[in-house]
Symmetry: C2
Subunit: 211 residues, 2 copies
């Protein structure tokens, strides 16, 4: 699509097309939608984008996105500061928070080690994680990264860096998802489920806690 009848329209389409997963055609649809809305609504849309970038900060403790210097999880006195769940991004924090099963705090790495994308350990918030462990503030580090090659590499790197300190390093249980048919589970997952089998009583106890 070219031949825009307005330079400004073209500019707006170009801006929206820089967003991930949005091509020119979709961008045009979004812009024309906005043009049809009330002045006030579009004004609010634009202002929100401007304010968001200016006012959103990252928490100085966990590096999560926050409105203040210390996020609402890190500043919550009822959250366990000694149990730190290490995640890749803020989206993982939201996923785990939605389970309502975790009362510890988080540490957002801001990515995972991925040489293909040029992301090395120095690009992640590993120094501040090590500092929390070194100072003895943290008793358990839960590694909650994806089970991909990059996730495993990052897990192993963090383990090597932290294991000399007196800290417990755990990782999320991997296994057959609840509700899944064994028949259709892939063999690696099923194998891991078998190896890491848990006491039935413990599972029972945990599920009661959960509800």
């Amino acid at each position: 699509m070219h031949n825009y009848s307005s330079k400004l329209l073209e500019e707006a389409v170009e801006e929206f097309a820089t967003l991930p997963g949005i091509g020119r055609k979709t961008a045009l649809r979004l812009v024309l939608h906005l043009l049809k809305q009330e002045d006030k609504e579009v004004e609010h849309f634009g202002q929100t984008v401007l304010r968001m970038k200016k006012e959103i900060v990252t928490c100085r403790e966990c590096h999560n996105i926050s409105d203040s210097e210390l996020c609402h999880i890190c500043s919550d006195p009822y959250r366990d500061k000694e149990t730190i769940c290490v995640v890749e991004s803020i989206r993982d924090v939201m996923s785990i928070e939605n389970t309502e099963q975790f009362s510890g705090t988080y540490h957002v790495l801001g990515g995972i080690i991925s040489p293909m994308d040029g992301i090395g350990p120095a690009d992640l918030t590993l120094d501040s994680l090590e500092m929390k462990v070194k100072t003895g503030l943290c008793k358990e580090v839960i590694l909650a990264l994806s089970t991909t090659m990059e996730g495993d590499t990052t897990n192993f790197y963090i383990y090597r860096r932290l294991h000399e300190y007196s800290v417990k390093i755990t990782t999320l249980a991997r296994g057959v998802a609840i509700g899944d048919d064994l028949e259709y589970a892939d063999e690696v997952t099923l194998g891991r489920s078998l190896l890491n089998r848990t006491s039935f009583e413990e599972t029972f106890k945990n599920s009661k806690h959960g509800t």
Copy 2:
């Protein structure tokens, strides 16, 4: 997804989620992408949205989106003002302009008659179309609407309103698309192709004109 760690983040996600075809998850991805960009770029994004809504106007002649009161097509002295192509939206103007086969001008209806969506003739720019025909400024009206039920209804409505004036009313040729196999063409289209068959010499002449 809920449990946003920042009120502003949540607000921004809600804003993006009002766009057509964008759900909360996609909105979050877009917002997190913007947050990772340079301040300057996000500033530019927000300002473009604000300026676009304030400065884009519709052409007083053809109702196309424009930067000035008269769009660049209507103000072009080489465009034929007596041949007006009636389209539903600005996107159709762009599609036809991309063919580089049309040297007339446009008339953007701003929709088509669709009782299901509560759009009646009064919601479209039909009065100004009729005015152009009435005053004799326009010699040919080309109806270039979709071949849907709503498009046909609108075509028929416009025809009824304009046919008493001395104006030629034509419609786009419908037929088997170029490059398509006859075997796979639907029967209605193929039937229309047969009924509206054109002189081979004329087709040959036209295709030479086109290139």
